[in-house]
Amino acid sequence: MTQDSRLLLDVRDLTVRFPTSDGVVQAVSNVSFTLSRGETLGVVGESGSGKSVSNLAIMGLLNRNRANIAGEVEFNGRDLLTLPPNELRHIRGKDIAMVFQDPFACLHPMYRVGDQIAEAVLAHSNEGKDHARKRAVEMLGHVGIPNAKARARDYPHQYSGGMRQRAMIAMALVHNPSILIADEPTTALDVTVQAQILELIEEVKREFDIGVILVTHDLGVVAETANSVMVMYAGRVMEYGPAAQIFAQPQHPYAWGLLDSMPTIERRLSSLVPIEGSPPSLLNPPTGCPFHPRCVYQFAPCATERPPLVAPVPEAHPDACHLPWEKKVELGAKRAVAAIVGEDAA
């Protein structure tokens, strides 16, 4: 165990398998990362890359009868994966809280918003109902719901999408958790509302000194909010490092592909460079590097040998790619040049 007192979560070799009648779905394979206080970890990947499943596994929200989970998730010196369900229940929702994508589906339509938040308070405390209600109003005000005392008596349908997501964040924060897991928290929202919610999460993180795991498919959201980034593909980590480095010098061909295929608001590109093909089935993922069938740079070992997630040179961040470091530097430089040429052409 590391001595770093700010370390909150240490995930090692997290692996999730779902046995189905068609075969075993290899949803998450050997995912390792850490989260410290004050850190926002951005987890990016396309649909089916395992980003949500790994978080559900950490939260203990996967049915253990249906999912085989291996690895270690260390939180406060304890492995969450081996905790008995009732002990895990004391941690989940209290020390680790989660905000989901769809604020429309997460609130019960027939209960008042304030009462639903009060219920979350009562789930982990012995205080009375009055205290819980007060706490709910206090938290609603805290996340920027104007006139919180009156709005706490509203039903969810009286709230807009952005307000519902604020209410969900308020609910997640009632017990001062140390980790907030936000799974696509802004995907269902409009851009101007998205900006407000991202700002709120950032404020909350600073104020309560917590760690945030932000799961998203939007690289722009990650670039603006995350300190560190984990790029996932087909259930595996392709690249993991500080956000500034990943965006300035991405090392994995998949990360290059993602960045190059993304339209940018800053200029009109002469053409987008898509990643050809589509993501693999997790029932029988490709051997070797899972990205090799779509990779333009694949060579001899890619199809057979799985590249480990290691830093190619000490000053670089870890990636899972067989390409020699010099080649990555050379291709990375070419990408940068191509971007500038594209700018001129536009």
Partner: protein
């Protein structure tokens, strides 16, 4: 045809070259209101102002992007152009012909000229029909023979294989399904294709494939697109001209480059600054407070004044700004358009060189503080 209450009667500016042979579609003072019932036992009646007094043109061979947040009326506008909805008032002209009052029967020959690509490639394809039947159905409806070879050619055109003819939609990925939708839209060689959020349900790597396909098809078949999206990065990539909508109104209209490089309307500026970017570096962000007002009771005068950082009491809430041309090919509906871009928060608030109307009409009490 009655003009809706309070709609300006002056001719639409900026896009006013109505009647030009270059225009494929012309919308003039187009308005759509939906009746809704409210209250106990649905006794109260009110109207949703979905599209209010929209005037614009779509030129042949161009891509007109319509952007805005949910509920701004962009999809309703698209459905009105296709006459999938009947307008409350105003005119829709397709190739110079007013189609706003045609019956469904009279519209049928025109239907082959305009097609639509939908957002969700999962729900827009019938799961019980083969790809051949789906792409071939326009031929059947319009009584054309020899569909099979044409369908196979179409499948090749959109990057699928002719052997996919007998497969079912569930055998395809999201991106491939969207290609099937594109092939179906292309079947009758239409002049106009309305793309309603065609890449929003796709992952980025696939999104780029479909955007490139749409662009190549436009070049090869001389297509005109109306491209609806909430994603400003996608719109920048594909659109030649852009209409920015807010609460049913077009608030800014112009050449794409001009709008992205120097937005004039504070709402457009707020939208642009809210988009997260993958490039590092700090920039000013205009934070809008509150939520979009209800389209059942839209704010009086300028519809954006309740959230606008440049709001001037006694002007913006009294006088509705018309959509007027501020630069050649770039119009905005604002009394205090932005002087430059980017701007800091303070600069936005200090609107000076205001384009004040001739008469600062202050009569009539302000309704919303």
């Amino acid at each position: 045809m009655s003009t809706p209450n309070g709609a300006p009667t002056e001719p639409a500016v900026a896009d006013a070259e109505f009647g030009s042979a270059d225009n494929l579609v012309e919308l003039e003072h187009l308005t759509k209101r939906f009746q809704v019932r409210q209250g106990v036992f649905a006794r109260g009646k009110s109207e949703v102002h979905a599209v209010e007094d929209v005037s614009l043109t779509v030129r042949r061979g161009e891509t007109l992007g319509i952007v805005g947040e949910s509920g701004c009326g962009k999809s309703t506008t698209a459905r009105l152009i296709l006459r999938l909805l009947d307008p409350t008032s105003g005119a829709i002209r397709f190739e110079g012909q007013d189609i706003s009052r045609l019956s469904q029967r009279q519209l049928r020959p025109l239907r082959r000229e305009m097609q639509m690509i939908f957002q969700d490639p999962y729900s827009s394809l019938n799961p019980r029909k083969t790809v051949g039947q789906i792409v071939g159905s326009p031929f059947v409806i319009h009584g054309e023979r020899r569909a099979k070879t044409r369908v196979q050619e179409l499948l090749e055109t959109v990057g699928l294989s002719p052997e996919h003819y007998n497969r079912y939609p569930h055998e395809f990925s999201g991106g491939q399904r969207q290609r099937i939708g594109v092939a179906r839209a292309l079947a009758l060689s239409p002049k106009l294709i309305i793309c309603d959020e065609p890449v929003s349900a796709l992952d980025v790597s696939i999104q780029a494939q479909v955007l490139n396909l749409l662009r190549n098809l436009q070049r090869d078949f001389n297509l005109t697109y109306v491209f609806i999206s909430h994603d400003l990065s996608v719109i920048r990539q594909i659109a030649d001209r852009i209409a920015v909508m807010y609460l049913g109104h077009v608030v800014e209209l112009g050449e794409s480059e001009s709008i992205y490089e120097s937005p004039k309307h504070p709402y457009t500026a707020a939208l642009l600054s809210a988009v997260p970017r993958a490039t590092t570096g700090h920039r000013e962000r205009i934070m809008l407070t509150g939520d979009v007002p209800s389209p059942i009771a839209p704010p009086p005068a300028c519809i954006f004044h309740t959230r606008c950082p440049r709001f001037h009491q006694g002007h913006c809430d009294v006088d509705a700004p018309p959509l007027r041309e501020l630069e050649p090919g770039h119009a905005a509906a604002c009394h205090y358009p932005l002087e430059k871009w980017p701007m800091t928060d303070d600069e936005i608030r200090q609107a000076e060189g205001a384009l004040r109307a001739d008469k600062p009409s202050l009569e009539g009490a302000t309704q919303e503080a």
